[in-house]
Symmetry: C2
């Protein structure tokens, strides 16, 4: 099945305890596209300036990513973010945010995207995310929304309106607590699902991820890594693996969502091994299979032994 991905394509400059990158290609939709294109056809909706490298678009096109929904504003600059990670790699300071083309982004869904059954809304202004949902003539089979605390801080009501229209919400643990006003993640999940989404994914970084649905819960581990080189884009890559697997298999059962979260976790574990999207560009289908088998070893146990 085809997938629409909405989100930023941008430049990042990243500083970690292991080193410093130049201005490199980043953005939620970039990571999602690199990852999801391993699994299905991707139809991108985004906006870039004239400074965004054509070679990047060509490399993604070669992987079956369509850019009919990409706006290129020749005389403007792409979104730019610069950040510095702390020693524990779990927290970071934003050094620079230049919205540039994102400041007035009005996405337009091309006619050829209308038949897509899966919609991944990467982190963006919730009004922009919602406008994409509203442009679709048929409700997709599954809408997944990623967001962050920034939007909870400055436009909670708009965000809640968008959240009420999606099937799966993805946030991290502190965002789940902020959104629900509840410290217990189990209670937080109930409150958030009452806002609309039938499924909630809570990302916990090195502690894995939780999937909630009705009274069911699934806990996906994160692969313990010797070195997390650069966490930038790990959440977007996770999202890309999750929705990519669902779109590929065209199966949105809870059981298949469990597998999809493992796929997302496996892809994210590759992403953090190098700066930016570098590692995602290198990995093969065989690498993905190998990492998935590591996850089986990591989390399967035999209850028959009890």
């Amino acid at each position: 099945m085809s997938l629409i991905v909405v989100g930023s394509m941008a430049f990042d400059a990243i500083e970690t305890p292991f080193g410093k990158s130049d201005k490199i290609v980043g953005g939620a939709a970039t990571y999602i596209a690199w990852c999801a294109s391993n699994f299905c056809k991707v139809n991108q909706i985004s906006v870039v300036g004239g400074d965004f490298p054509q070679t990047e678009l060509d490399a993604l096109s070669a992987r079956g990513v369509s850019f009919e929904g990409l706006q290129i504003k020749k005389d403007e600059k792409s979104f730019f973010w610069s950040g510095k990670y702390h020693l524990d790699m779990n927290s970071r300071d934003t050094l620079v945010t230049e919205l540039n083309v994102l400041a007035n982004f009005t996405p337009v869904v091309p006619e050829s995207y209308q038949d897509c059954e899966f919609l991944m809304l990467g982190n963006l202004d919730p009004n922009v995310q919602r406008s994409v949902i509203e442009q679709l003539k048929t409700k997709p089979k599954l809408i997944v929304l990623d967001t962050m605390n920034f939007w909870m801080d400055i436009m909670l009501d708009e965000l809640k309106k968008t959240i009420s229209m999606v099937d799966v919400l993805m946030v991290n643990d502190s965002e789940a607590r902020q959104l629900s006003g509840d410290y217990s993640l189990v209670r937080a999940a109930k409150k958030i699902m009452a806002m609309g989404p039938k499924y909630l994914i809570i990302k916990k970084g090195e502690h894995g991820a939780l999937l909630f649905h009705e009274n069911n819960v699934f806990y996906a581990p994160a692969l313990p890594l010797e070195e997390v080189f650069d966490p930038t884009g790990a959440g977007d890559t996770f999202a890309g693996g999750f929705i990519g697997h669902l779109a590929k298999t065209n199966d949105i059962s809870f059981e298949n969502m469990k597998t999809a979260i493992i796929v997302g976790s496996a892809m994210a574990s590759y992403c953090v091994e190098k700066f930016g999207t570098e590692r995602l560009r290198e990995i093969s289908q065989n690498d993905i299979k190998e990492r998935l088998n590591q996850f089986v070893q990591l989390s399967n146990f035999d209850i028959a032994l009890v």
Copy 2:
């Protein structure tokens, strides 16, 4: 197979955001015995004062716990600890520590315990733990050691000597970092296993537990709970479930250790539901089976779907 459990039997007074307990029965070996006696015969080595309730010993005896290795010092008082948990339940302040009978504890292994093949050394002075190992005429099939940062702070060399003699070490994540001097848990695990133990378990509370052995790693989730009522004894209960399952099945393969960690996690998830050992006293074999099935739902996924 029979199991020797070494550790404190004591009194606790606990304050959590949910309430306050009177002086109630606690101690590492108490929790371990309540838990492990669901799975195997337990031979206790501990020390209590004349104030320790005979009813508690009778209740444990009825579950097959032997107290031949228990010293009762009629004119002295039992070990007492009082603590207060913070709102997040992950950290606590110690309010009172009265060593009492623990101050001069010299354990003696009864002749009838000599044939035991499993040894669980609950958190105690590492010299006391080591003296039990040294009294055993035949090296047990498996020695598991639990310890804490307190001993790393005040007698690291003695602790390392004891660690070098055991098969499985159990610590929490911050203790693993302290003991190894490495932030990365994967590198920390390698350094700690180089100190002697062939297996390392890193407990991460609500984030589950990791089992390391050579280049293998297993990640056991913790059951997401709506309410953690009282975390006291959760780690000891985890230890009791882990070694109890191994002793019951008499199988120390890595695969069975995975299952044992799930058993430990399941038992710990019951422990925290009420104050002290209260919940552990109530649960039946059916409850245990039910909780284990929840763990299967929680963590099993179908890789064939990829």
